[in-house]
């Protein structure tokens, strides 16, 4: 046996020893647990840490939040707050017409709901189209393909606050974009104080920041499509547009649905980068539901924790619906995969 091999064995044994020692200690109660509860009990044992974390950080706050939504007052301790039942929900839902925010008691909440609705529709559509185009391009044999994939994915790694700040510095009155416009002889424009351009900026920045993730999902889907289908289409002389509509799109549909649902959930929750970029302005034109909850719960001098909790419960219900949709889509994809 060579010296090197001996050293390797010794190193392996030295590293394994503490693990084996730990395992021997854990083994005793684990065996006893398995004897008492069977294999089902073992599953529960291994799931317990995760469920404990989920319970402490998600379930308990959710229940507490529900209690908060049934109380009023400015105090933060539940025992110091007065019980008002569903009053906060009634206040939020008190509207002459849900389409006209001016008729609503909590007009800012409904303004935020309307803004979020518009944002979701535009952003998800744009996100899907841009991610699809990017994935199609990155799936081709282009020069520096790996480099470009990294470039498009890089913004996903940035903190949303950094993303918001970078774009704020670019778009603000004395920002980089206006400097370029000025140097080209144009008239600088106040991008973040105009309602349309601020909304456009919010959507674009959000798409820029997250498209890399969705592109990756679509790219994986594109690479899973059998090449022989394309070869057969090429031999038949099928036009590229027809190849896309008849082969690529149908076979990519499961991935596309996942992308749409995930983007939808993310868009409903939009907050951080837009908050840093526009602060919800101009006026309230980029005030979204999550920012409303944050403002009314913590930031505003008019703070009202009960109202914020009620708003977050309502938003949570929307997210539950979307998550169920996502699960449904996932299951349908699985069933389709099994049939094939």
């Amino acid at each position: 046996m060579s010296g090197a091999a001996t050293l390797k064995e010794w190193t392996g044994a030295a590293l394994a020893a503490p693990v084996a020692w730990l395992a021997s200690i854990v083994n005793v109660p684990l065996k006893a647990w398995q004897r008492a509860t069977g294999t089902g009990g073992m599953a529960a044992f291994f799931l317990a840490p995760n469920m404990a974390i989920f319970g402490i950080f998600v379930l308990v706050p959710l229940v507490i939040n529900f209690f908060y939504s049934a109380t009023s007052g400015t105090a933060y301790f539940l025992q110091d707050r007065s019980y008002v039942g569903l009053e906060q929900y009634r206040r939020l839902l008190d509207c002459g017409s849900y389409l006209d925010t001016a008729t609503c008691r909590e007009d800012l909440f409904w303004k935020a709901v309307h803004n979020t609705g518009l944002f979701v529709v535009v952003q998800v559509a744009l996100m899907t189209v841009v991610s699809m185009i990017t994935a199609l391009i990155l799936n081709r044999e282009i020069a520096g393909r790996s480099f470009w994939r990294a470039v498009f994915f890089f913004p996903v790694l940035l903190s949303p606050v950094v993303t918001g700040l970078i774009w704020r510095w670019i778009l603000q009155r004395q920002g980089l974009l206006n400097l370029i416009v000025h140097d080209l002889g144009g008239e600088p424009y106040n991008w973040l104080t105009d309602r349309f351009s601020a909304f456009t900026a919010a959507v674009s920045v959000s798409v820029w920041a997250h498209m890399g993730f969705y592109t990756l999902i679509l790219l994986a889907g594109l690479q899973a499509i059998p090449r022989d289908l394309y070869e057969a289409a090429e031999m038949d002389g099928t036009r590229p547009a027809r190849v896309f509509w008849r082969i690529t799109l149908p076979l990519l549909m499961p991935n596309l649905l996942v992308v749409i649902v995930l983007a939808l959930i993310r868009a409903v929750q939009i907050f951080d980068e837009v908050y840093v970029l526009t602060g919800g302005g101009p006026g309230t034109s980029t005030l979204y539901v999550t920012q409303y909850i944050y403002e009314i719960g913590f930031a505003s001098l008019l703070r009202n924790p009960g109202l914020a909790s009620a708003a977050s419960i309502l938003m949570g219900l929307v997210l539950v619906v979307l998550t169920l949709l996502q699960l449904q889509v996932g299951r349908r994809g699985e069933r389709k995969g099994q049939r094939e």
């Binding site: 105090a75 302005g281 006026g283 309230t284 913590f298 505003s300």
Partner: protein, 422 residues
């Protein structure tokens, strides 16, 4: 077995040490507008040298943390031992009454009597702390820009219209983006509102409905914004009651006139340097007077402290006449200490020739504050009123509400806040 017990004991001690305050530890949550963070640290270093048994940690945080996170910590019965705050009255129930802990409470009553009511619950005789600075809202003009434009600076009794017209001429001549800006804050526009006859406080001490005085100035402000005379960015590019200062636009010579307050003097002096000359203007006049609103930052002891005696020692040191004097001279803040004010002779530590006259101007302007403005600092509902004003007025500026709709919304927002606090 003994080893295991020892290990467990050591771990328990470490855990306790990491979670509880040691006797002698005092934590201060502090924010800075200018250089006061460095000054207070220097003063505290001297204190710790003389009192080696007390260790003071100064946590320098953003103003946003004081405004948004500290109230939540306090509601949860937590927080630092001492904090520098501007939301003084509304959180008064969380301040520690230092009176029984102080060696000489009379010294505090004598020297801080005018402002103690600002920081204690109505009717209380507690001594929660002292004002680290007195502030007064007021304007600043870029003298160099006015001179370059050949426009004379409006005089002492000039109205808001006079100032905006003059600043508009300067902006046009010097091709600036706007004539003026006011910080995005309800506190800031309350001086002008009062100058036009506004009174926020009803006869029962509760918030009154928006009156003609407020309507008069806010109407002008909205009109000036629509005409591009007020820098749109400051008010329009945020939602809710978010605070936005326009100091950087003044410092970068983007606006010839800026309405903020005395606390900006050190900031302007440090950042402008000798780039241009600037002057403090006091508050322009309205139909009822030329009023700013007083205010300031208070250093208060928090009642959840584990070391009240040490906290009192630190507070006694920082409130000492010589310490307050030095702090004011070095930070360029107006002192709230009667003794320091009465003796006068403050030697402002600045080589900037703009600083002395600016501070003198604010001292003079303080005498012109109207009673309706002086009633605001100790008033419980002031912040609710300010927040509603900012939220709704900026919506009007953005074209989302009409002024008439905004008045109703402001009244409703404030009424909701009062109802919620019951």
């Amino acid at each position: 077995m003994t080893k295991t017990r020892t290990l467990l004991a050591a771990m328990s001690v470490s855990l306790l040490a990491s979670t509880s305050a040691f006797a002698g530890d005092v934590r201060i949550m502090w924010y800075s507008d200018g250089v006061e963070g460095d000054v207070i640290q220097d003063l505290l270093n001297r204190f710790m040298k003389d009192n080696p048994d007390i260790h003071v940690t100064l946590d320098n945080v953003a103003y946003k943390v004081i405004q948004e996170q500290l109230p939540i910590q306090l509601e949860a019965g937590q927080g630092p031992d001492i904090a520098r705050v501007t939301n003084i009255k509304e959180l008064a129930q969380h301040w520690l009454d230092l009176r029984p802990l102080l060696a000489d409470p009379k010294y505090w009553d004598d020297n801080f009597a005018d402002t103690l009511d600002w920081m204690r619950p109505d009717g209380s005789k507690a001594i929660p702390g002292f004002m680290t600075q007195l502030t007064l809202t007021g304007g600043f003009a870029n003298k160099t820009l006015f001179e370059q434009a050949g426009v004379a600076l409006p005089g002492d009794k000039a109205t808001w219209d006079d100032w905006i017209n003059a600043a508009a001429q300067v902006a046009k001549s010097q091709q600036l983006p706007a004539a003026f800006a006011i910080d995005r804050s309800g506190h800031r526009i309350s001086g002008p509102n009062v100058s036009y006859g506004a009174n926020y406080i009803g006869s029962d001490g509760k918030p009154a409905k928006v009156d003609d005085g407020t309507k008069a100035f806010v109407g002008k402000l909205v009109d000036w914004t629509a005409k591009g005379l007020m820098l749109k960015d400051t008010w329009v590019s945020a939602a809710g009651s978010t605070y936005r200062a326009a100091a950087d636009d003044f410092i970068n010579a983007q606006i010839p006139f800026y309405y903020s307050g005395s606390w900006q003097v050190a900031n302007l002096s440090t950042k402008i340097g000798d780039s241009f000359d600037w002057v403090a203007t006091g508050s322009p006049c309205g139909s009822a007077g030329c009023s700013g609103v007083k205010g300031g930052a208070a250093l208060v002891a928090i009642k959840y402290t584990k070391n009240p005696k040490d906290v009192a020692k630190v507070m006694e040191y920082l409130a000492r006449e010589d310490v307050v004097k030095e702090f004011s001279e070095r930070t360029l803040f107006l002192p709230a200490h009667k003794g320091v004010v009465a003796k006068g002779g403050l030697k402002w530590v600045s080589t900037d020739k703009n600083v002395g006259p600016a501070l003198d101007k604010f001292v003079k302007a303080a005498g012109e504050a109207l009673p309706a403005a002086d009633a605001l600092p100790p008033w419980k509902w002031a912040n609710a009123y300010f927040a509603a004003l900012v939220t709704r007025v900026s919506q009007v500026m953005a074209g989302e509400l009409t002024l008439d709709d905004a008045w109703g919304k402001i009244d409703q927002d404030i009424a909701d806040k009062v109802a919620e606090a019951k």
